[in-house]
Structure formats: structure tokens, C-alpha cells
């Protein structure tokens, strides 16, 4: 069957191109430094179940949360129908699952149709919120160009895909209700499934359908091909889009930080040096251990994406650009340059750029740019109060504050840069053990005051 062959070619090509792009993203994420997140597996599974599958963080904003739930559940379950479409496409069958499921099949299709409608309602309201109500977090500075259009494209795609599904079912319904002899006369006997009854939603669209059997056939087939090709395009659109979160939300919540939010990691490279200073027996001129000579000295903090760890890079690909973080950031709320969403988007954009450089010019190519300065300005970094409102708000457990701290570490430890008041603070802490200019000997004076 020629149509089966065409279908298989389209399917294989779609999956191949998708897998290749996923491979590139994986490679990019692994450009980051290693960090061990393999501990406490039980807790990690639970977090993933709660936050990614259970959408627990979405209820903080009930309206958006509920609509998102429609789209999410609708998306997952409609994949069962996609599976049927794929099998039908491969074997040239029609509604394959019907022969397996019998009457139960009806219930399932009805359920999908209701979900399709909910998805349509969901994306329509999402569109209105963005374009008519203009919810501020969708209209801030960083939401220009691609970031803005990406959000809209996906709404259009979902709308069109769901509509195609309903139109397909409507046409099919008319065909299936046609007497068998007429179907056979028109060479359309595969529609004679003996299904009678109506689909929950598409029955209301049958009135729009033509009576001519050939026309119905074209509409049904047209919508079918449109739907499956649309799905292949959607699949390949994902990795270029914030909508990749529908996949990455799962690993990203699994590998999320389990420690208290305000706990920062202690840089091991620093610990080694500090221990040396504290250990009177350490010989600073001792020869480095064998094999250590050619090891590149580790950079303190992060200047570019490769200095971040892979989880921070995965965070950047997972970001949905929803802006929940920025909308609660005290610095952003008071007009400062900092936006945690922008930190994540910059990290991803820079990582994509680095990845493309590697593909084009090899692994050692240096384009002279870096995440710090070319993408993120020190002024943004210094506005952060490390309050963790952003990490608390993020529906997929992204940690923008950790990137901010790592960039600050580079500024301070490698470049001795930062607000001058802070330099005074460092000196005071070093000399008197307090950020202010008070003598350590006076530390208990309060007792007798």
C-alpha cells in the first residue's frame, strides 16, 4: 500500500530529525560541570510525581493552573489516539482499536473529544490572556521576538490540531452511518465498521459535512493526514521552543535541588585552598601530585555556560518562560534590571550559541563571547537579594538564584569586581570579623551597655 509507505517514511523522518535534535540538546547540557544528583532517589521520584505529573506548583494561580491542567491531561491522553493513528497509518487499517476494544472504544473517543474541546477552550483563554488582557508577565522586556511568537505559535498549533481531530471524526461519523452497500459501491468499505452511535462532540459538526461520499472521504483522509503531519511538525518544533518543558519537566523536577532553598554549595576548589592555609604542615611549594600539572586550574564561579553545572543548563532548556519567577522578584517589582526569567533565557540562548559554534567550528572554537557581560550584565546580578522567591514560584523547580550566585563568584573571585561598598565589607570581615568597622574585642560590649 502506497499510503502506508508514505506514512512510514514521514513517521521515520519525523522521529529521526527529532532524535537528532534531542541528541544535540543532551550534548549541550552535558557541556556543564558535573554535579551529583543521584542521591535520595525515593524523594526524587516523589518530587517528580508531585510537581511534574501532579502539577502541584500550578495551583498557586488557580485559573492558569486549571486551564493548564486541561491542556496537559488532554495532551497526554490524546496520545493514545495518536498511537491508533500511527498504527492505522502503518497497517493501512481504519480505527484499529475499535476491533480490540469494541463498544468501549466509543467511550474513549468521546472522552478524547471532550478533552479536545477543553484543550481548545484552554488555548483560547490562554490566547486572550496574552493578547487581549495582556497579563504583564507576558509583556515584559525580555518577551520580544521569538519568545513572544513561540508562545503564540504553540497555541495556534494546538488549536488547529484539535480542530482537525474533531473534523476528522465528524466526517467519519457520517461515513460510518452510511449503509454498507453504498459504502461498498463507492469503494469505501473500510468505513463500514458497524459503529452506530454518535461521538460526543463531533456529532454537532456533522451538519457542516457534505453528503457526497467522495467529498466526505477526502475530508476524513485530509484531516487525518493533516493531523498526523501536524503532530510530526509539532514534535520537531518542540526542541526549538519553550514547550520542550513538556518533556524536560520530568527529569528537571527529578534532579531538582532537595536541600533547603537558601543553602548554597561550598566550592570544593576553594575548600582545598582554605584547608591548605589552615594546615600548618602543608607545604605551599610542594610539587603537585603526579598528573596534576596539566590539569587546567579550575575557574572560580561561572563566566560562561560551560562553568555552570549540567543541572543549571537543563534548567535553562526546561524554562517555560512563564514569568512566575520575575513576577514575584522583589528586584524586578521595584524596577531593577534583574529578571530571573531573563537569566534563564539568556543561559539557554548562550548555550545554543555555544552548541552551534561547536557544530560549525569544532569544540575548541572561541567566539570571544560569554554569558557574563554579553548576555547578563553585572548590574542585573547585583540587584538580587537571594530571597528565593523565584525558586519558590517556579512550576518546574528551576533555580535561577544559583546561576546568579555563580556569576557573582566569578566577578568577585576572578575579577575582583563588584560594588565598592562590598569591598569594604570584605576588608572589615577579614580584619575585625564583622562587616562593619568595629573591633572584634568590642564584640561583647552590648552585655554591659
Amino acid at each position: 500500500m502506497i499510503s502506508s509507505v508514505i506514512f512510514i517514511i514521514i513517521l521515520a523522518a519525523g522521529i529521526y530529525v527529532f532524535a537528532k535534535k534531542v541528541g544535540v540538546i543532551r550534548r549541550n547540557i552535558l557541556l556543564g560541570k558535573d554535579i551529583d544528583r543521584s542521591d535520595r532517589k525515593d524523594e526524587r521520584w516523589k518530587t517528580m510525581a508531585r510537581v511534574a505529573m501532579g502539577q502541584s506548583k500550578m495551583s498557586a494561580r488557580p485559573v492558569a493552573g486549571l486551564l493548564h491542567l486541561f491542556v496537559y491531561v488532554g495532551f497526554i491522553l490524546i496520545n493514545i489516539e495518536v498511537l491508533e493513528i500511527i498504527l492505522d497509518g502503518i497497517f493501512g487499517t481504519h480505527r484499529l482499536f475499535h476491533s480490540v476494544l469494541g463498544d468501549f472504544y466509543f467511550m474513549i473517543i468521546n472522552f478524547f473529544e471532550v478533552l479536545a474541546v477543553l484543550v481548545i477552550v484552554g488555548v483560547t483563554v490562554f490566547w486572550i490572556r496574552r493578547m487581549v488582557v495582556k497579563i504583564p508577565r507576558f509583556w515584559s522586556k525580555e518577551m520580544k521576538g521569538w519568545a513572544k511568537n513561540d508562545a503564540l505559535y504553540i497555541l495556534y498549533i494546538e488549536f488547529v490540531l484539535m480542530s482537525a481531530l474533531l473534523i476528522m471524526n465528524a466526517a467519519d461519523q457520517v461515513l460510518m452511518a452510511t449503509p454498507v452497500d453504498q459504502l461498498e459501491a463507492a469503494g469505501l468499505s473500510k468505513y463500514a465498521l458497524g459503529l452506530d452511535g454518535k461521538f460526543a462532540v463531533s456529532q454537532f459538526l456533522t451538519g457542516l459535512m457534505p453528503e457526497n461520499l467522495d467529498a466526505l472521504h477526502y475530508i476524513e483522509r485530509g484531516a487525518w493526514w493533516f493531523h498526523i503531519i501536524g503532530i510530526m511538525l509539532f514534535l520537531n518544533y518542540l526542541p526549538y521552543s519553550k514547550h520542550f518543558h513538556i518533556i524536560l519537566a520530568f527529569p528537571n523536577t527529578f534532579y531538582a535541588k532537595l536541600e533547603p532553598k537558601t543553602e548554597l554549595n561550598n566550592l570544593e576548589s576553594v575548600t582545598k585552598e582554605v584547608e591548605m592555609m589552615f594546615d600548618p604542615s602543608a607545604d605551599p611549594y610542594a610539587a603537585p601530585p603526579a598528573g596534576a600539572e596539566d590539569a587546567v586550574p579550575e575557574r572560580f564561579g561561572a563566566k560562561d555556560v560551560q562553568d555552570l553545572n549540567w543541572k543549571q543548563l537543563m534548567d535553562s532548556y526546561t524554562c517555560t518562560e512563564c514569568g512566575r519567577c520575575t513576577s514575584v522578584c522583589p528586584a524586578n517589582l521595584t524596577g531593577k534590571l534583574l529578571s530571573p526569567r531573563k537569566i534563564m533565557m539568556d543561559t539557554r540562548d548562550r548555550l545554543e550559541e555555544v552548541g552551534q559554534n561547536i557544530d560549525k567550528n569544532g569544540a575548541d572554537y572561541d567566539d570571544g563571547k560569554s554569558l557574563l557581560n554579553d548576555y547578563i550584565k553585572p548590574e542585573e546580578l547585583w540587584a538580587c537579594t537571594t530571597c528565593n522567591a523565584c525558586t519558590e514560584a517556579c512550576p518546574v523547580l528551576i533555580d535561577p538564584a544559583s546561576i546568579i550566585i555563580d556569576l557573582r563568584r566569578y566577578l568577585v573571585m576572578e575579577e575582583s569586581q563588584g560594588p565598592s561598598e562590598l569591598n569594604a565589607v570584605y576588608t572589615n570581615i577579614e580584619n575585625n570579623g564583622a562587616p562593619w568597622q568595629f573591633a572584634q574585642a568590642d564584640r561583647l560590649n552590648w552585655k554591659d551597655e
Binding site: 537579594t385 550566585i405 570581615i429
Partner: protein
């Protein structure tokens, strides 16, 4: 209020062969900042009243390193941490209580991996325990019947999930606790964290502490309570900015309890 407070140091206690049950980590603000010193003393009065065997490090204490770490100066942080850990381990410290959420977070979460493993409490948690155990009782005080709101310090609340202890303490004074629209997990930062306390704010169109003070004003509370000396400073500045210092007092949970227990 002029009864003398007892503040033994670790060195004194050790010299007389005693071991305290808990080390009171005072912190830099608590030691040197005039406003914060009052919080320190209020807490000491509570400890004295409850007969807690505690000690301070006094001149052997040094900055926990929190502001250096948040600013990105990991070297300085680890130097401070190692020094403090040496001192505390030297005294075999096992339990620490502190009035500073930043020291609390650092000692509790960041010192263990550097060799300093202690049970660390925030003073609102300890006070809550003392009230529950009946070691101190609150009856009177000038705040009885007043309307109080509570500001969650980021490093205590979101950072370490301590939301209830301070509220339970406040619930024991006979006051009406009103929550701000942004509270608990959604609380808004006072603007001091992440070493901001020690620098000018970046360019913007508003100060964070002003934004937060507006939240306080909306509750019509007479008192805003908090558990952090830095939040206290920020909110005090905010209240002044709105010329409300006669109507709204900014107080630490410890001060409210010391007052209510007539200490």
C-alpha cells in the same frame, strides 16, 4: 527593666568546668548594631528567665561569612567558616541558637560539609519550645489586644521552612495576628538579603523596603513583628518613610515576648 542580665561566655564556663546546653550565636548585627542589640538583650532575658544554661562566644565569635558568600566571595566565607568551626568544635558545641536567620541558615546548612555539625535553632523556635514547656509564661505586656502582623524573613521562611514557630509564639500573646497579602511562601523580601544590606540598591524606581512597608500598612497593624535584625532595620526605615513611626512599631518576636512576660 534594669535587672542585670547574665551572659556567660564559653571561655568562662569551660574554665569553671561547666558545659552549657546551648551556644547563643549572637551574630554581627546582634553584637554591634544599636537596634539589634536590644533584640539580643531581650532574648538573653528570656534565656535567663527560663534558666537556660547557655553561653556566648563573645570576642571569639566572628562573622559567619554569610554576606561574603552571598556576594560571591567564597574564599572569605570559607575562611570565616573554618575559623568559627575550629572555635566551636574546640568547645565541643552541639547545639546552637541564633537570632539571625542568615547565621541560622549558614550554620545549619553550610557549615556541616565543612566539618561543623551542630543542631541549630532559630530563637523563635527555642522560645516556642520554652512557652510550650511552660518555662516562661506570658500574660500582660503593653501589646495585649493590639493588632500584629508578621513579616517572614526569607532565610527563615522560604529558605528553611520555619513559618509556624514565630506565629505560634505570637499566638500566645493575647493579640490579633493579621497576615499580609504576601506572606509565608509568598512573602516579599525586605530588600536586605544577599549582601544588599551593605550596599546601595541598584537603579530602579522604588526601594524594596518601601514596597514591603506598603504591605504592612495595608494590614492596619500596630506592630509588625519579625525574626531578623536586617528585616527589622529595613521595615523601620520603611515605616519612617511613611511617617508612621508613632503608629506602627517594628519589633522582634523576642522583644514582644520579653515585654509580655514583663522581663
Amino acid at each position: 527593666m534594669e535587672n542585670k542580665i547574665k551572659v556567660p561566655t564559653m571561655a568562662e564556663m569551660t574554665a569553671s568546668g561547666e558545659t552549657p546546653d546551648v551556644l547563643f550565636w549572637v551574630g554581627c548585627a546582634g553584637s554591634f548594631d544599636d537596634r539589634a542589640k536590644k533584640i539580643t538583650k531581650a532574648f538573653v532575658k528570656i534565656l535567663n528567665k527560663a534558666d537556660i544554661k547557655f553561653a556566648v562566644l563573645g570576642t571569639e565569635e566572628a562573622c559567619s561569612g554569610d554576606p561574603a558568600k552571598r556576594a560571591g566571595n567564597e574564599f572569605l566565607f570559607q575562611m570565616q567558616a573554618m575559623m568559627n568551626i575550629q572555635v566551636m568544635n574546640g568547645y565541643n558545641v552541639t547545639r546552637v541558637v541564633t537570632t539571625c536567620p542568615h547565621c541560622f541558615n549558614t550554620l545549619k546548612n553550610e557549615y556541616p560539609k565543612l566539618g561543623g555539625k551542630y543542631e541549630v535553632l532559630h530563637h523563635t523556635e527555642l522560645i516556642n519550645n520554652l512557652l510550650e514547656a511552660g518555662k516562661i509564661t506570658v500574660e500582660g505586656g503593653e501589646f495585649k489586644g493590639k493588632k500584629i502582623t508578621y513579616h517572614d524573613p526569607c532565610y527563615l521562611g522560604r529558605g528553611n521552612d520555619v513559618y509556624e514557630a514565630p506565629r505560634e509564639v505570637l499566638g500566645k500573646i493575647d493579640t490579633a495576628l493579621v497576615e499580609m497579602a504576601r506572606s509565608r511562601r509568598n512573602s516579599l523580601c525586605c530588600g536586605a538579603g544577599g549582601a544588599q544590606m551593605f550596599k546601595e540598591a541598584e537603579k530602579g524606581d522604588k526601594e524594596i523596603f518601601v514596597e514591603r512597608t506598603e504591605d504592612v500598612l495595608k494590614t492596619n497593624a500596630n506592630v509588625v513583628a519579625t525574626g531578623c535584625a536586617f528585616c527589622n532595620t529595613m521595615l523601620t526605615d520603611g515605616v519612617k518613610r511613611f511617617n508612621k513611626e508613632d503608629e506602627i512599631e517594628v519589633l522582634d518576636v523576642a522583644e514582644l515576648i520579653a515585654n509580655a512576660a514583663d522581663l
